[in-house]
């Protein structure tokens, strides 16, 4: 009983300590510079991929890029501040299909490949982004 309590107390302390440390995924993705490269690579592809480019027609890339970078950084657990809208609001009324969403994910994989991110690290990152499907796909 006492042993169980001590173990629980130890785990609590350990988990509190963990919360202040940097998220390992952030460094696995190459930190701020790595994530900036991923974001830039991804936008290069989005604006030219005929499957989704029309979704970006009215979007100013210079406006989008710093926000997209900050968003990805925050999702990765990095020390970034994202001041944009929540994903649900940001995509409201855009009639984005599940197929559109999947293309954007595939292009992000390519962007990470080009940034040298290992496949299993990519999956850890995609696991955090996948639930956004519910907020982004509205058609």
């Amino acid at each position: 009983m006492q042993r169980g309590f001590l173990l629980a107390a130890f785990l609590l302390i350990a988990s509190c300590a963990g919360a202040t440390a940097t998220d390992p995924l952030f460094s696995q993705l190459g930190g701020e510079s790595g994530i900036a490269r991923i974001a830039s690579n991804a936008l290069d592809i989005y604006f030219s991929d005929p499957r989704v480019a029309q979704n970006f027609d009215n979007i100013n890339r210079d406006f989008l890029q710093p926000r997209f970078t900050a968003y990805l950084c925050r999702v990765a657990g990095g020390p970034c501040i994202y001041k944009g809208h929540a994903m649900k609001r940001a995509h409201k009324g855009l009639a984005i299909t599940e197929a559109n969403f999947n293309v954007v994910v595939e292009d992000l994989e390519t962007a990470m490949d080009r940034a040298g991110v290992p496949y299993h690290v990519q999956n850890r990152f995609l696991a955090r982004l996948a639930p956004l499907e519910r907020d982004i796909v509205t058609r």
Binding site: D49, N102, V103, H120, N123, R124, A127, A130, R134
Partner: protein, 283 residues
């Protein structure tokens, strides 16, 4: 039957302008009696790479060579809006020289047709990464075997039967791991090739199918499966089937699965171990 599974296709297609469809591990391969799954185990995922707005489908060809028998399967499946799957498979079971020993004649073939439907109830194995809820589906398969007189002679209660199953499949994407479990109510003897029910047990029994698949790369998955089977016939004991597989996704349109599998004893010819090879083409 047979095994092998795979995950889905982690393939990507940069090219084609209209290429869209589902992502990553999202359809599996064709389970031997036609449903989407591993090779041996049925998954809750819906066949094809279609999204909720699209229709997809697959063709498969599978051959299994074990110690004393060969087993082939060809079939097709269609997925509608990532909600409903319809499938058909034709299986043939080649008794090779064992046919002679069993008094059927060398190379005697048993044939089986399987028609299936699967309905996705809730959950998305891929997107729901923030929840423990797996993708859940229910399904049914109607199977009809030929060789009625022989099936009767070996003690089978009937040449056709209906299976019902409940499948739960979850992709743990952060771990690159897919896990699936299915409970099936069935009377099938050796997947139905040897008929349904028997002198030993005529009733339905609950059987289990499980898969675990690890994604080594975006196009290569390895894993293992188990499928329990009823033991209905007095004349020959029937056991569990297992496999260990590797599935390679050349693209979303083509995959190949190779497995080592153990089908357990069949028709008093001892344990049947061998190789499984399956090709699948789809969209």
């Amino acid at each position: 039957m047979l095994c092998a599974a795979s995950m889905a296709g982690l393939s990507r297609h940069q090219a084609a302008a209209q290429e869209s469809g589902r992502l990553l591990a999202t359809e599996g391969v064709s389970e031997i009696d036609g449903a989407s799954g591993g090779g041996l185990a049925t998954w809750s995922l819906i066949s094809g790479y279609e999204t909720r707005d699209e229709i997809g489908g697959n063709l498969h060809g599978t051959y299994v060579a074990v110690n004393n028998f060969g087993l082939g399967s060809v079939g097709a499946s269609a997925g509608f809006y990532d909600r409903l799957e319809l499938s058909y498979a034709h299986l043939w079971f080649d008794t090779r020289s064992a046919g002679g020993r069993l008094g059927l004649g060398d190379g005697y073939h048993f044939d089986l047709d399987a028609v299936g439907a699967k309905l996705r109830l809730v959950g998305d194995a891929v997107y729901d990464q923030d929840s423990w809820l797996p993708e859940l589906s229910v399904g049914t398969q109607f199977k009809a075997a030929d060789s009625h007189a022989i099936l009767k002679a070996i003690g089978a209660a009937g040449p056709d039967g209906v299976d019902f199953y409940f499948a739960a499949t979850k992709l743990f994407l952060a771990e690159s791991l897919l896990v699936s479990a299915t409970v099936r109510a069935t009377k099938a003897n050796q997947f139905g090739i040897l008929g349904f029910g028997g002198d030993h047990n005529r009733a339905y029994s609950a059987q289990f199918e499980g898969s675990a698949a690890y994604l080594l790369t975006r196009s290569l998955a390895v894993g293992a499966e188990v499928r329990t089977k009823p033991d209905n016939l007095g004349f020959a004991r029937e056991g569990c089937a297992y496999d260990a597989f590797a599935a390679y996704f050349f693209s979303k349109h083509l995959s190949a699965t190779l497995a080592f599998l153990a089908l357990g004893p069949i028709a008093r010819q001892g344990d049947q171990n061998g190789l499984y090879l399956s090709l699948q083409a789809g969209f």
